[in-house]
Symmetry: D3
Subunit: 163 residues, 6 copies
């Protein structure tokens, strides 16, 4: 790990970091997060997925579409032409929560962690939007990087992974 913020030049001004001399390697990143909801909302989501009113289906599409546009949202992210994106959900009955996981992939000069994180948060926000008429107290939490690989800094795997 570096000991400095790397989005600044020597004068302390922000830059989009120069990656033109970096090697292109296969970059992968997986991020996850959760939204905690009321019992009623969880039931509506689970039943909706099985029958009709597909909250998670819409949230998956939203996560995928937002991840592609990460560089428009996060000021110093590089524009990237992602080669793979997926968003998955797990129902956590006991915690009354939905866990979202997003994986992004690219053969390129810079990592895709922000893309995976943006996919996760947008998917969770979409669940919030579609359920907010029932419950305004929902909360997003535990949003973090799970895994990344590729590039000079190599592999990273978060230790205490609880799925």
């Amino acid at each position: 790990m570096q000991s400095q913020l790397n989005h600044f030049d020597e004068q302390g001004n922000v830059v989009m970091v120069d990656v033109s001399a970096k090697n292109a390697t296969l970059r992968t990143a997986t991020a996850q997060g959760r939204i905690t909801v009321s019992a009623d909302v969880l039931r509506a989501i689970v039943q909706g997925t099985a029958a009709k009113g597909d909250v998670l289906g819409v949230a998956r599409v939203a996560g995928i579409m937002a991840a592609k546009r990460t560089w428009e949202l996060i000021p110093l992210c590089h524009p990237l032409a992602l080669s793979h994106l997926s968003v998955d959900f797990t129902i956590l009955e006991q915690e009354s929560a939905v866990l979202a996981q997003c994986t992004a992939q690219l053969w390129g000069q810079t990592g895709v962690e922000m893309e995976a994180l943006t996919g996760v948060t947008t998917a969770l926000l979409t669940i919030y939007d579609m359920c907010k008429a029932m419950d305004r107290g929902m909360e997003l939490s535990d949003i973090h990087l799970v895994y990344k690989d590729g590039g000079k800094s190599g592999q990273y795997r978060r230790e205490e992974e609880q799925t």
Copy 2:
């Protein structure tokens, strides 16, 4: 609170809810969330704000710009012409975290909760992006609505507010 998801018609298909008959009222929403970082990152952020390398300044701009584009990201959100947006940060020394708060306002037919939440998450993701070379273990959490007012459902204030 309604007992049903309101983004679906009778066949269970998603729609962008019809708000054309709703009254225009002043809509306000405040959301918040936090990012927990390492002690090194917190120091870099705090010093950066005071002197150079302004992480929070960039994150504030990112949050404001993303909140304006909420309807492009969240599939069933209405396009809104927000009349006010602000993003504020509080350094939580003890928790080694940064708290972000976003307030959105509009004189219109539909609420602005999603805009406030999108502003918060994008601001926090931008902090993540600018500090990730130092710490990949940062985590976003406690992202929720704090307050809203306006519209038929009236005022909502989250109970246990801890700032």
Copy 3:
């Protein structure tokens, strides 16, 4: 009907027509179109909807999201804050086709025909995208306005509606 193109000034240069003096009325528009597919694709779509692999669910979201962004795509369209959007599909077994219908609504100074048409075409293109590995010969056709109301030109209903 006017006898002239209305997106030009006296010099023949294109303009975004001035609607600031127009009355705000409730504007509605419905457009439709179809995609003709192979028997295999139709079967995959129908079964996918019932069980898994929800082509039409994704196409519906795509249509709604694109309709909101019509003014970014069609050069002389006014930016509009739509108050309602829906996309519906009908399976036409005999014609081996899927019919898409999009309705847009707004209380405003200009009509929403282009929004309805953009919703339909993007929904149909999304079906094409998701099925093109099975069939490259699919064709979009019969894309037209079905109904509009509001504004000075009043109501329009296409005569020979065949659903």
Copy 4:
């Protein structure tokens, strides 16, 4: 041709297909479609092109600009950095129609059919927008892929091409 929809994983959830292991080849695609208009509109378009009020010039620009943004509109399309785009029109006097053709090109890992199709439909919708004050009965039809080349599936040419 594959016998399955390829935008789904084994659970039936949509994904943006992984193309990171695919070879980069030169990808080309040409799509076309038409808009049928009243005799008055056709006259206005033809005269406009020759003298002033350049409907087709605006529609060409709209088609090119939209094709670049295909991946923002079609949920599971990969972001692509197209290397070539053109949109051409042919006046079909007898059918009282305008034929639009769009060609897209890229040296990359995935095809550009959707880009060509999006260019065609947006160009045609722009013609509709600019002429709708004269004729609301215009119709888009015959929108299909004409030709594609590159990638594992190789060349495709639609049989009965009528220009």
Copy 5:
């Protein structure tokens, strides 16, 4: 004129200024600017406009489309649903330059100066783009507000207008 920057709160943090209490009035703004080009480029532009290769036609469309998206580009601009937009060009033979003028209009709570300025600069940059193979020394200059009206600050007209 105020003696302070108005995009900051008391802590010096940027905000999108609250306009929700402002009256809606008719807002108009006109901005202009010029691009100075070589004699060869000017000739190509003039002849292109008359016959084929319509540089100014494309630049006009680009200016109109960009002005609609001003709030996406300028961080603290409010999203606005403009009701009118036009871009005009004047050939300045003696100065070997093209003058661009953009007018924006809106019935709303905030001014449209930035929209007019964004329309002008994008139109001029498009001319640069289309002619840069002939001349890399072109220069944009004299970009300023010509006129504005509406809102509390009322009318403004730049004094020494030279067209």
Copy 6:
């Protein structure tokens, strides 16, 4: 230098030029421009940068973000995945102006001049926006390419560079 506009085909219709056969080389471009402001505004900007109310910090972020989206704004620009972007400002006390400089970089098939120019103009427009309550007479000028390298046309350096 070519003697013809290169964004047109033989019929005089605009195209996005085919670069698929071009070699990928390292492309660099630097552009600059200035905004002339009143003495009061200059003081506010300079003091704001040192203490609070960071006009230039916001303008820098705006310039970087807009440069990434150049291809969405300039109709015939190729979509590019820039590998480096920076925006710098110099206070010109005597001229009562702020000079902005933007550098863009890419390993690719086409140049990045337009990206550098778009970064400069958007940064300057953002300064205008944030200071316009104090001074409506500000003017953008001297916007031009300073330097470019890479590609078949090789290096270009503007002669009379005055910083």
